[in-house]
Amino acid sequence: MVKILQLFTNEGQLVRALQKGDPKAQRYFYEKYSARMLAVCVRYLTDQMEAEDVMIEGFMKVFERIDQYKGEGSFEGWMRRLITNEALMRLRTRRHIEIDIDAPEVHQQVHFEGIENNLEVEDLMAILAKLPTGYRTVFNLYAIEGYSHAEIAEQLGINESTSKSQLHRARALLQQMVSEVEGLKWKA
């Protein structure tokens, strides 16, 4: 592994090696990005085994389309978009995306100052996993990936207004759940 790490000291070298189909580069790519990309997939799919499947499929897509990467923007950003699309495709094929229009409104306002430091990544992942699929998907795309509502609407085949309302409800639910978890932590 030390030798492999020496071979690909920067992203450009790695991309060139991947474009040549170098197996060492592919293994290095897995070692470098699998943990981060698995976290992306788990955010959408919640199940780790399924997320691993999707991640591997996404990596194969990256290898297939590596020639399309022209160096515009970061390589990781380009790859993350492919992985995200793969996760959305999995959700779509399994009809996991239900737009939860009828979910109850959350009126409780939570003040976040000071509490987020007590929440670990695992806590936030668990909170996110409790969201309905539609809320979680829109929230992931907008708040974490940085998609616009127009892009989300196109990706999910919904209206922009639906995307906005889904995001609004997702935020409210997340606030509520964060405060609950935080309260439990304080009590503990």
């Binding site: 955010r43 997320a51 990544v121 936030l124 996110l128 929230f139 935020r171």
Partner: protein, 277 residues
Amino acid sequence: MKKHPVDELFSRKLRDAEITPRDEAFQKFQQRLQTKERRIGWWQQGPWLAAAGVSLLLMAGGGWWLMSQPSDTTVALSGTTAKKATAPPTKVIESSPITTALPQALASNEVMPQATNKTTVAPTVPKAVAKAPVKMREETKLEQLSPIQESQIAQVVTTPTAESQHSVKVEDAVKSTTLTNAVAEVAKPVEKTVVLQLPALKENTQSKEALVASKEVETNSSVSVPSSETDLLNQPRKSTRMAKVWQQLKNAKNGEKVDWDEVGFHPNKLVAKAIGK
């Protein structure tokens, strides 16, 4: 634009979050890679690709050579310049290697140059010629004859004269002129391969005898062909095989699927045999 606090919290903590995959995931990843390598591996192996390319070229060249060999006849043009001047549209040719071996029963054609350039001679081929083997080139040429020409040819053939060895038929000037015009309109340029030994024609255009053993006439001249030979025209040409190989080569170049059955061998099998897998 200020981010919503919930968005900011989750984005900051989860965007670069990491979850270590299980070992099974890495094994699965490697399996997928190996499957992919098996599927397209030979493209990326330069030496094997080069070897496959060379063997393909050898096959193609060999095939072309084999196909071209039977019809490979030496061409020698001899004749009087006066002949060219007298009958430009009808070039009388003789296929020497095959036809010189033919018995004298072979009928002969003769071009009888007329006094003027406008008149042409329509040679006739008696039925004795029909029994002689005729090369594929003749057929491909004749294939391009128009129905009009063929009918006229048939007309000529069905009227053999008693003296078949001296089967020279001189059409009258008007008829041959119209025939030549029709031929000139319809006939397309074809590959001309066989032109041999035109006897020095006597200036006496009234002479009906010719010493030429057997002759071929180019497509723009009228030649009769037996019906058994015309059947050969419908047979698939040998060059279609080459076309298939070239098509598959193009597919390989474009990264599309290559049907190795069309090519005739399977490189993956050869490679597998070479490396002993």
